[in-house]
Symmetry: C2
Subunit: 363 residues, 2 copies
């Protein structure tokens, strides 16, 4: 296994990447593959770290189909260093970058209309091609987010991998909601996504409520921005608790800004039940489960429910700035594991045995 | 019963209004009441016509509570002439007007934030006080929409009553959706609300699909702007039919603009099933029934579902202009009945026996 490569723009024929392939539902195999010739707009990233997302678990264990057929290396939260680049991407050589989880084509109707997240030619590593649970990954250079060489103390390039989804997806949901200092923001789910959402909303000056069923997560959310932490298992009337908090907060924003960040049916039920006049409900987490609800409440409350499929690459530098300025803390919310243990880590995430977001790091 | 009043700004003590009161669920009684002293900002409207809305049926037969306790005269789609006005509203005397179904206070946080439809001090005739199923109605002068004395041939002031909800509510939903000539607009339900929605969307240049279970409604929708009419009872695959229409339409708008205008659970299921990348779903109709759906589709499709509680009064003149310019046709979509038959008409609407929107006209 080669982990260091000469920084160059030509593809070395002897270089290989080692990664964990999903072979079939629940079945993995390690594979070592040569790095093929690069297209002019592509780069090879030497992976510093790759976050493990709920979406990977869906692909690996729940039968959610990947767009590229199996076998496929998963992983779409990637940070690393560019070690090779095609002709049009040479400026990236030696740069540290975060690879957007969703890379739009930049040229279609959707992209030109300012809706890059629904670009139909979008590229997602670990879905459209081999992803980041590997030593190297080949991606388009479009939309790469540059990372400075010097990072604040305690922060590593590997940890910044989670910016590519766990940070930017709630960031984009919050941006679209128009959250301001006059708002109350409610996060239903304070896990991988919600923990960062809480911090972003608090950094923007909103009064933040975190709701979860896990006491440790709630404690962490309280330490990093939540003014009210509610355990849904213990609080008999979440709705009343949120309402009286909103009333006492003295905020004059119109309607609650609710963020469903649990990706569970129960969380969605709670989030929808919090709708009131002028509310904005962002669906950030994903579950394939259906729920029963009175859709007309959107009409009766003059409310909006909105989903976002990731985040446009042009927003990544803004989210990264918040991390580098210490307004979003990553370290307490992640745990780093060697890539060699990827199989066990995925299994543990699948069985909800990890408390923090896992980042896989090639040794 | 007095139907003509001297146009004056003082309240005549001898003047009475005759209207149909809802006494209890499903029970009505005619009542004649004196017109009480006006507040400075109030006016008395001599009702020319009052539309019968699905919401009235909810109040009258389905146990939906009115904000003012019973007995109460229903009716919130009102057009008429101002015959008395308080001190601050004298300019309205003798003017023909449409009374907005929802009249915001104009002064609260919501109103000042440009969200008047969720004003908590809003006034709705036939809900907060006696409404338009009467010869006269007392309303605030705020937000009244002036109607010219000369109307296009075939159009009466009575017919214009339906602008106050049946026209303006889909108008506002369409406005919020950002509909353009590049869009495909789908109306699920071509009845009282959908019939006008189809016309507005077509007038704005969109390619319009109407879906209903009633052949006559679909025929009317086709005659007034729908390029494709689908009978949900006969079309085995509504989704595919809409998709292939959208493809052939050559429109480059991002995502379908879907308008749920049936106010039924089945219609909501159909509307939600049409969600695709970048779609906008407007919940315009109301039903208290719950439906089962995969809320995460909003996230997977980067889509938005939005409701609107009526329409801000400042949009009424725009909607009325479209009617006066002949871009929205009202006559084919309404049927006029004498106020004296209000009880029977409400009963008929309740049992879905009328094909068009009923307008009650004092004789």
């Amino acid at each position: 296994m080669t982990t260091t490569l000469p920084a160059q723009s030509a593809c070395s024929t002897s270089t290989t990447s080692k990664g964990l392939r999903l072979v079939a539902k629940g079945q993995f195999a390690w594979a070592e593959t040569p790095l093929r010739e690069l297209s002019p707009g592509e780069v090879i990233v030497e992976v510093a770290g790759c976050g493990v997302c709920h979406t990977d678990i869906g692909f690996a264990y729940e039968g959610v189909p990947t767009r590229h057929s199996l076998p496929l290396i998963l992983g779409h939260e990637i940070a690393g260093r560019i070690v090779m680049a095609g002709e049009q991407a040479r400026k990236w050589i030696r740069h540290s970058v975060i690879v957007p989880a969703v890379i739009p084509c930049g040229d279609c109707d959707a992209c030109r209309s300012g809706r890059p997240t629904i670009c139909r030619k979008q590229f997602m590593p670990g879905n459209d091609a081999d992803g980041g649970f590997a030593t190297y990954v080949r991606v388009p250079a479009r939309g790469l987010c540059p990372v400075p060489d010097e990072l604040p103390k305690g922060l590593t390039l590997a940890m910044l991998s989670v910016v590519a989804d766990a940070v930017t997806t709630p960031y984009e949901a919050i941006r679209r909601s128009g959250l301001s200092v006059e708002d109350v923001a409610v996060f239903v789910g304070a896990g991988g996504i919600g923990g960062f959402g809480v911090q972003i909303a608090a950094a923007l000056g909103a009064a933040v409520v975190a709701i979860d069923v896990d006491a440790d997560r709630l404690e962490l959310a309280s330490a990093y921005g939540a003014a009210l932490a509610l355990n849904a298992r213990e609080c008999a009337d979440v709705k009343s608790a949120v309402r009286s908090f909103a009333k006492q907060s003295g905020r004059h924003g119109i309607g609650l800004k609710i963020f469903e960040t649990s990706g569970t049916a129960a969380g969605q039920q709670t989030a929808f039940s919090l709708l009131g006049p002028g509310a904005h409900l962002a669906i950030v987490g994903y579950t394939a489960q259906k729920i029963e609800l009175r859709l007309s409440n959107l009409m009766a409350f003059d409310a909006t429910a909105q989903g976002n499929w990731g985040c446009p690459p042009d927003q990544y530098p803004n989210a990264l700035s918040m991390v580098l300025e210490g307004r979003i803390h990553i370290q307490p919310f992640v745990e780093v594991h060697p890539l060699g243990e990827a199989r066990q880590v995925l299994e543990a995430v699948h069985h909800h045995q990890l408390r923090r977001r896992a980042v896989l790091v090639p040794q």
